[in-house]
Each structure stands twice: as structure tokens, then as C-alpha cells.
Amino acid sequence: MSEVRFNELRGEEVVYAIHRQERTFLPAREHCPLDPTKPGGPKTEIPYPSFEIVVFENRFPAFEAPHGAAEVIVYTDQHEGSLATLSPQRVEDLMWVWRHRYAELGAREQTRYVMIFENRGVEVGVTLHHPHGQVYAYPFLPPVPALELRADARLGGCATCALLADELSDGRRLLFCDERIAAYVPYAARWAYEVHLVVRAHRASLLECDAEDLRSLARSLQTLVRGYDALFERPFPYVMVVHQTPTGEVPDGLKRSGHVHLEFYPPLRAAEKLKYLAGSEQGAGTFIADTVPEESAAALREAIALGA
């Protein structure tokens, strides 16, 4: 069982999940726990010889019911691949799975925030290469979504709607858009190739998205990841997070607002160079960037054209 302590200086919770020290770490290919269980083969987390999408409770959870949840979402029974290489139908189905997990975990009494995410690449600490993501249900409101609520309050409305309108109007950082989804490098991106995929209509969460929203989101997701992979002609590492409205109480003075969008935080600042969170980023909380978003967006637009 994890322990949550409140760090008074930072004004934030820290989770101690010491059992995670023992979690499976980069196993040999033949011992992947996310593979299907083949007849006569080693037993894996999924006791079937084939499957489409599977969700299960993490064996090494950061959070456990009733004080939250930690689940693994396995995208495919194929060990090799990524969001870029899955069939469009599978990625669209995955959007519905995300919606389902948000609904179910968010309805639990002690859940205050549901976060769906994917870590891709050893550069961001991936321990299993099989295509998968995760979902955490937090028993408290974490700092980043709390900041988003404060941005809504500060701007007197939906901050994401306002920023989206600015990006569409400016256009220099826009990567692509259709009637439902827009993708851009944000004006004040912290990471060199940070991208936000935003549902253009104001939707607080995936629960408010209709089938066409989800279809477009899936298509946009694949377009972006293929572009990322084309940028440096290598699998592109990233942390991807689905931002949605909190499902529980929010701090006094704030409204339970929000606008569903995906944020990608890639650690690469060049083909072979990582951005490290060092003195200024960790000590002051201020990112020092080596690139400008307009140039990153131009490079990504070219890569997306190549990846199409």
C-alpha cells in the first residue's frame, strides 16, 4: 500500500510506492508480461492466446482501491509496434476505452482526478516495450490540473479554448487541424517538440465527446506520432497525457472546469540530445528552452508530411 505525504514547502503530495522497486524491468523479449499467453508458453498478465485491447489492475500500483487506482491499458497482443502502427480502427476503439476508464474510475467516491497517459521510450523510463498506456485515479487533485483550473479562473473562462483560438488565429505553430481536432506546438512550450492535440469544441472530458470527435482524435493521434517518428527517423520518445476535468472536489474558490486535450512532452531537443530537468527547471521551476516553438512547429510540419 502506498503512502501519501504532503510536502509543505512545495504545497503538493508525494506518493511513496516502495513496492514498485520490484516491478518488472526491461524483461527479455520472451518474458514480456504484456504478451498473450500462448499454449505451452510462459504465463503472462493476460491469460489468453489473443486479444484486442486489455485493461488490468497494475501488479505494482502507485494507487489502490479505495484510495485510487492504477491500471495498465494494453493496446494490442502484438509485442512490436506503437500508436503509429496500430490499425485506425484499433486506435479509435482505444479512445472509447479511455472514455470508459475515465467514467468508471472517476465515479468512485475517493477519486478526485483521472489521468490517462503513455510513457514511450527508455528515455522517459519505460520498463516494458509492448505497446501500452496507463491510467491513474488520484485520491487528491494533483498540481498540474489544479494549475489548469487556476488558469481558467485567471482568464475568466476556458483557458484551453482561449489558447486554441490564439493558435488558430496565429497559425505559425499550428501543425494540422480538421473540423474536430487541432494540433499545435504551444506558444510557451516547455519542451522542444511539445504538442497539444485539442478537441476544438469545448468538451470537459471524453464523456462529452461524440463518435466523430473520437474518430478524429484517433486519426490525429496517429498523424502526430507518425510525424514524430519521421522527425529524427527513429521511434520518438514522449510522455503523453490526456487532460480532462477533475472528477472530484476542487480547491475552494475554483470551479470544476477543464477542456479535454492531449499533451505530449518529448524529452529530445535534437536527434541525439536529451533535455534534462536541471538547476533552473528543478530548483526554480523555470524551463530554459534551447529551441523556439515556431521553428519546432515548422520542422514537425515537414516530418508529418513525410510520415503521412
Binding site: 485491447i53 479505495p66 472517476g106
Partner: protein, 57 residues
């Protein structure tokens, strides 16, 4: 704003009950996806999602 705690469909009810639903519900769907709930040997929840009417093992 749609709130998962204000809705009445199956996953939300399971959430209100405090855990992932414990019973297989053959008719449960989420959009085009069929949902089949199971338990692993150690008690952890496992959910199979299949496109269409489902081709779960």
C-alpha cells in the same frame, strides 16, 4: 458538463460501488466496443475490450 457521478450507465455504477465491476456483463458496451469483465487468479480486475460484437477468448 457531464459528470461521471451523475450518469447512470454501467461503468459509472460500478465506480460508485467502489471497484471495477465484479461480474461479467455480456451486454455491456462502450460505443462500438464490447466490454467483458474478468478477474485474474490473484483477484485483480481484467477487462477485455473487443470491436463490434466481440471476439473475446
Amino acid at each position: 458538463m457531464q459528470d461521471p457521478r451523475d450518469t447512470q450507465d454501467t461503468p459509472e455504477q460500478a465506480g460508485r460501488d467502489g471497484r471495477t465491476a465484479d461480474v461479467a456483463s455480456e451486454s455491456e458496451r462502450c460505443g462500438p466496443v464490447t466490454v467483458e469483465r474478468q478477474r485474474k487468479d490473484d483477484g485483480r480486475a481484467l477487462i477485455l475490450y473487443s470491436h463490434g460484437d466481440g471476439d473475446a477468448p
